[in-house]
């Protein structure tokens, strides 16, 4: 699993730094928790008082009145406490989500590319939701239960430390046993989660691979795989049951043992030390008041851990260093020149995929990049658009080193159009307008017309308002590329990199679009990674990449005649197009 660089997470300190709202008014919170916890224990105290007063009506009245007042105070404290804590935490969580999404877009592009997007989404959604789920599932009572535990212990010791001692010893044994059991539960749940994830993958695979399964008639095979995954998940869930319910049983066992100890011990000891009957009965009740929160705390430890893990994962994202340059040098106006000097590059810790590349592109030059798969073309494109940092060497845009350029001045001026562009769920017009929200419908139509897309446009059921679906799923790959090209043309960037941006478009449309793009980008610097010869032929210059180096550089006319990689590529292209040159 890829993970983010662990920031210095020293317990809660980072959490408090990121979310200062958590720290406000902590003493008040603790006071409220104590009041709430004390209110719950009022019942045994009143019983003790009543029994020892011989249940005389004149003493019962005041005792019940005091108990009633305590209940009201405790109830009010609980209500205020619960709201207050949840409000603080929910505020912190909302801030965490927003900061997290910002950071995804701010972090170094190479870091973002390395992380699976599903992992990043999880850190902003279900990981954070874990905290809410924990709180609403009773976690909010952590504080009150903790307070109740402390108060019950203090009162028991006050009645008789000799009697409290066996209770505490059994509690310690119970804690140790439950903690051990909890570890076993955690282990089995961990395994169950793994099996559940595998089961989900199996279901997802049979859903996504449905067409293949149907067309190959292999439904039986898929069913067998599914059955196995479903059974496995069921079996590992079943294996979590014995320790889980064993733990609850242990609590009951502890309560009864303590009760017997307090009953018999209290009577035996009480005769010597003068314990009252009320006190012994109250102790019996207190045992329950003592063990229940203990059980609760131990049993929700797992959920608390999940919540903390979720929180930590969100924090890791938020504390990932930002790569945004805020007060750098702005990119000078006008067409952009590109200087690449001695640049090498690699992905992560992998081998170098680009070796010592040096090249200068004039402002306004049209450059085509060709080469076999894996020759470093796309890596080069990523370097120019800051999607990857060079391992060594420098890149300058209009004379400014790339890493010093102010990010705000780059937006919309240096743009890459990838082979598989991303569309947002919405209409075509919304996607085209993305980079220039102020553009009118007429301007969008104008761009489409200038790109020669009226034929395509005419086939759309609802014209500009045609919905593209999630990720543009309702459009074909070629149509998505057309929308991305229109989007880029509308932004009118000064340096644009086309990374096989028309590969899914039929030849006739491709030719028309490419010619229109050439007109639209006249005077702009363009770098086109070419998959078809027309791109190379019409460029001012061709850079031929081979094995991570620039093997040849020059206009098509100059290169095609000399023996070398380019001549070889041209030969392959020509053969593809039926031998016409």
């Amino acid at each position: 699993m890829t993970s983010l660089a662990r920031p210095e997470l020293r317990g809660f300190r980072t959490a408090l730094r990121v979310s200062p709202s958590l720290r406000q008014g902590l003493p008040v919170t603790i006071l409220l928790a104590l009041a709430a916890g004390a209110g719950r224990i009022i019942a045994p105290l009143t019983v003790q008082h009543a029994i020892d007063a011989g249940l005389a009506p004149h003493t019962i009245g005041p005792a019940v009145a005091v108990g009633g007042a305590a209940v009201v105070v405790a109830g009010a404290s609980s209500m205020v406490l619960n709201r207050r804590v949840q409000d603080r935490i929910e505020q912190a969580l909302a801030g965490l989500r927003r900061a997290g999404l910002r950071r995804v877009h701010d972090m170094a592009a190479s870091t973002a590319d390395r992380l699976p997007s599903a992992d990043l989404v999880t850190r902003l959604t279900s990981d954070v939701d874990q905290v809410t789920t924990f709180l609403q599932g009773g976690g909010i009572q952590f504080l009150t239960n903790g307070a109740q535990l402390v108060i019950a212990t203090v009162i028991m010791c006050a009645y008789s430390w000799q009697l409290a001692l066996p209770v505490l010893v059994i509690a310690a044994l119970l804690l140790a046993a439950m903690a051990g059991m909890q570890k076993l539960i955690a282990r089995r749940y961990h395994r169950a989660r793994g099996d559940l994830a595998r089961m989900q993958s199996a279901v997802a695979e049979s859903v996504l691979g449905g067409p293949v399964i149907r067309s190959t008639g292999t439904g039986e095979r898929t069913r067998a795989k599914l059955d196995e995954a479903v059974d496995q998940a069921r079996d590992s869930l079943l294996r979590t049951l014995p320790p889980l319910h064993g733990n609850t049983s242990l609590g009951e066992l502890a309560i009864s043992t303590m009760t017997v100890a307090v009953l018999l011990g209290g009577v035996w000891w009480g005769r010597r030390t003068g314990l009252t009957a009320g006190e012994v009965v109250a102790m019996v009740f207190l045992v329950t008041f003592f063990v229940r929160p203990l059980q609760f705390l131990v049993q929700s430890l797992g959920e608390a851990q999940n919540a903390l893990t979720g929180w930590r994962r969100a924090l890791e994202l938020v504390t990932t260093p930002s790569a945004v340059v805020r007060d750098g040098t702005p990119l000078p106006d006008g067409p952009v020149s590109v200087s690449v000097a001695g640049v090498s590059a690699r992905y992560g810790d992998g081998p170098l995929v680009l070796h010592d590349v040096s090249v200068h592109l004039e402002a306004g030059e049209h450059v085509a990049i060709v080469g076999r798969t894996g020759s470093g073309k796309s890596t080069f494109a990523k370097l120019l658009t800051r999607r990857l940092e060079p391992a060594s060497g420098t890149i300058q845009l209009s004379g400014v080193p790339l890493e010093q350029l102010d990010d705000r001045s780059l937006a919309g001026r240096v743009v890459i159009v990838p082979q598989d562009p991303f569309l947002f769920d919405g209409s075509i017009v919304a996607n085209v307008r993305l980079g220039r929200p102020s553009a009118t419908d007429d301007e969008v139509l104008d761009i489409l017309a200038r790109l020669g897309l009226h034929d395509w446009f005419a086939t759309l059921p609802e014209g500009l308002d045609t919905a593209v679906g999630l990720r543009g799923d309702r459009l074909s790959a070629g149509e998505r590329q057309l929308v991305a090209l229109a989007r880029t043309a509308l932004v009118d960037p000064d340096l644009v990199v086309f990374d096989e941006a028309t590969s899914g478009i039929d030849p006739a449309t491709d030719v028309a679009v490419q010619q229109a793009l050439a007109a639209l980008t006249r005077g702009r610097t363009t770098v086109s990674i070419a998959h078809r010869m027309i791109t190379a032929e019409t460029a001012d210059r061709v850079l031929v990449f081979d094995d991570g180096r620039i093997a040849q550089s020059g206009p098509h006319g100059d290169l095609v005649g000399v023996p070398g990689p380019y001549a070889g590529l041209v030969k392959a292209w020509n053969r593809q197009f039926g031998g016409v040159t």
């Binding site: 009543a50 619960n82 877009h105 997007s117 909010i140 049979s206 790959a477 078809r532």
Partner: protein, 581 residues
């Protein structure tokens, strides 16, 4: 057999689930009832010990040794029954729940494989995954509390009987408490349910925005949209925070009320019971037993209300699961089989396809003579894939017929189409298994056959280059391979099955021209072949070419015949022309 989900209500569905697993259901019910009884008997034991041990002994009277033994024996004995039943009930409950879950899940996914492609087209993979995973979980989630709840209802009845037996007033207090808590719970759940739904919806929206924004990260960076993305995310995040707080405000009010209500009842019992003790109508032990019972009564009430609160969500899950299981839209098959071994002859007669009122293909007629290669050309969105789906027997036309060797495809038996036709689609799909398993799909093929197929698909070098050759496990959906590599493996999978008709839907688009040519050359003289491609190299191999525009076949003939059609000329020779101009 999966438990039936046809029941109207979620509660009835739980009964049906129990009936499907009578063994564990019976054990869980019996242990649940016994467990409920122990809670009442346990409280009486405390009361007995108070009267016969605590009060006389601490009052200075002599207590027979028997009282000590009986006290200890009663408390420990009842507790033993109690913790044993907790354990057994938990495990038996889990068996019913997880088995029902697994069986329903299996039934849902099996149904997916049976349902018509048309049904699948209207549903996203995410939706299908949710039905099979979270909806099934929700359907059976109340089961985890079902037997506990049954036992607790029994306990409440016993407790009431016990209270009334002791004293009418005590019985009325108990009744009031139970009624009060249940009423509060009903109000609580009524208030909570819509808020929980709102929070769930808000959560979905946060997830959708985060997911889209992160997937579109490159566009966000390149066009500088970080601020507008934050502006889009902020309202969703805030809506979720408000929704979570609305839930929190309900629970912060009701949780303390529910917790403290038993304490209030204890105070009332003390105030009302003291005069009766004085009057000799009740013993102190009776009162203590009642208090003990009231303190523990919050557990059953809590369990019952949790069970009830899960029913609405379970009902919603049941409806969605039911909609899948009972959907009549399954793929229908006839009984006829194809007996020939020579390549398939396909006739498409006046076929049309209408989807959601949109005419996608109209009046298409086409004959693929046995053993010929036919190439379909056309612009983006012309209807090529739809035509291929019909001719390949992957979908049925809305009107018109498709004949395989003269037999209507609708009349073919299950499995007949996969036996005769292999399809490679635009999006090559691989299972997360080894290359070998992906190729054979659990059928027997010799090593020689596998390598011959790989060679025909120009994938032999790809496989040799992988770390474990044929046994290399590709990632989910084949993610560890490049698009071109995936395509070649998928072509090899199709070739290996020695189909009588091979359909390649733009399946050679990611291959470089040389490889594409090699693959197509290998297919000559084999099965009937139907391809979409706009590449001249492919057209060159064709016996026939079909030109599609706007959902209609506009021209059809040999490549030489079609050369006279300007539109065909324009598509296929676009690059040559642009070069000449």
């Amino acid at each position: 057999m999966p438990p039936e989900t046809r029941r109207r209500s979620a509660l009835a569905a739980q009964f049906a689930g129990a009936r499907a697993h009578p063994g564990p259901a019976l054990v869980a019910t019996v242990t649940g009832l016994i467990n409920g009884a122990t809670m009442v008997v346990g409280a009486s034991a405390i009361g007995w010990s108070t009267d016969h041990l605590v009060i006389p002994a601490l009052g200075g009277k002599d207590v027979p040794a028997g009282a000590w033994w009986i006290s200890a024996g009663l408390v420990l004995g009842i507790s033993t029954v109690r913790w044993t039943t907790i354990f057994v009930r938990g495990i038996a409950t889990g068996r019913v729940q997880y088995r029902a879950q697994a069986e329903t899940r299996r039934a849902v996914v099996r149904r997916y494989l049976e349902l018509d492609p048309g049904w699948h087209r209207h549903r996203s993979p995410g939706q299908l995954l949710a039905h099979a995973v979270s909806d099934v979980d929700a359907l059976w989630s109340p089961m985890q509390f079902a037997y506990f709840a049954v036992g607790m209802v029994f306990m409440l009845l016993l407790a009431l009987a016990e209270l009334f037996r002791r004293d009418l007033l005590l019985g009325l207090v108990g009744l009031a408490l139970i009624a009060g808590v249940l009423t509060l719970n009903v109000i609580y759940q009524r208030l909570l349910a819509p808020r929980a739904r709102a929070a769930q919806a808000a959560r979905g929206q946060v997830g959708a925005v985060a997911h889209e924004s992160i997937e579109g990260g490159p566009v966000v960076r390149s066009l500088g949209l970080t601020d507008s993305e934050d502006a889009r995310f902020a309202p969703a995040v805030d809506r979720l925070r408000v929704a979570d707080m609305r839930m929190a405000s309900v629970s912060s009010t009701f949780d303390p009320l529910l917790e403290l209500l038993p304490t209030v009842a204890v105070l009332v019992v003390l105030a009302a019971g003291a005069p009766r003790v004085q009057a000799g109508a009740l013993t102190v032990g009776d009162l203590v037993g009642v208090v003990y019972l009231l303190i523990t009564i919050s557990i059953p009430l809590n369990v019952i209300s949790r069970f009830l609160s899960m029913l609405p969500m379970s009902g919603a899950g049941r409806e969605r699961v039911h909609a899948v299981l009972e959907n009549p839209d399954v793929v229908r098959f006839g009984a006829r089989r194809l007996r020939h071994v020579r390549p398939l002859r396909v006739e498409v007669r006046a076929a049309g396809v209408t989807r959601q009122d949109r005419r996608i293909l109209d009046d298409a007629s086409l004959t693929l003579a046995a053993g010929t290669v036919t190439v379909v050309v056309g612009a983006v969105g012309a209807g090529k894939t739809t035509l291929l789906d019909l001719a390949g027997g992957q979908a049925h036309p809305t009107d018109g017929v498709v004949l395989f060797d003269g037999v209507d495809v609708r009349e073919l038996a299950r499995g007949a189409v996969p036996e005769n036709v292999a399809v490679v689609s635009q999006n090559p799909f691989l299972f997360a298994e080894s290359i070998r398993d992906n190729l054979t799909l659990s059928r027997d093929y010799s090593e020689h056959q596998i390598w011959r197929a790989l060679h025909a698909a120009a994938a032999d070098d790809v496989v040799r280059g992988l770390p474990h050759g044929l046994d290399t496990v590709v990632g989910e959906r084949g993610a560890t391979l490049s698009g071109g590599q995936r395509q070649r493996i998928c072509i090899a999978r199709a070739v290996l099955r020695e189909p009588r008709l091979l359909v390649l839907d733009d399946a050679t688009s990611a291959l470089d021209p040389r490889v594409e040519r090699q693959v197509l050359e290998q297919l000559r003289g084999g099965p009937t072949v139907l391809i979409t491609s706009n590449r001249p190299a492919a057209v060159e191999f064709a016996d026939r070419v079909v030109l599609v525009r706007g959902g209609r076949i506009v021209a059809d003939g040999t490549p030489a015949e079609l050369a006279a059609v300007p539109e065909y000329e324009r598509i296929v020779t676009a690059y040559d022309q642009s070069r000449a101009s």
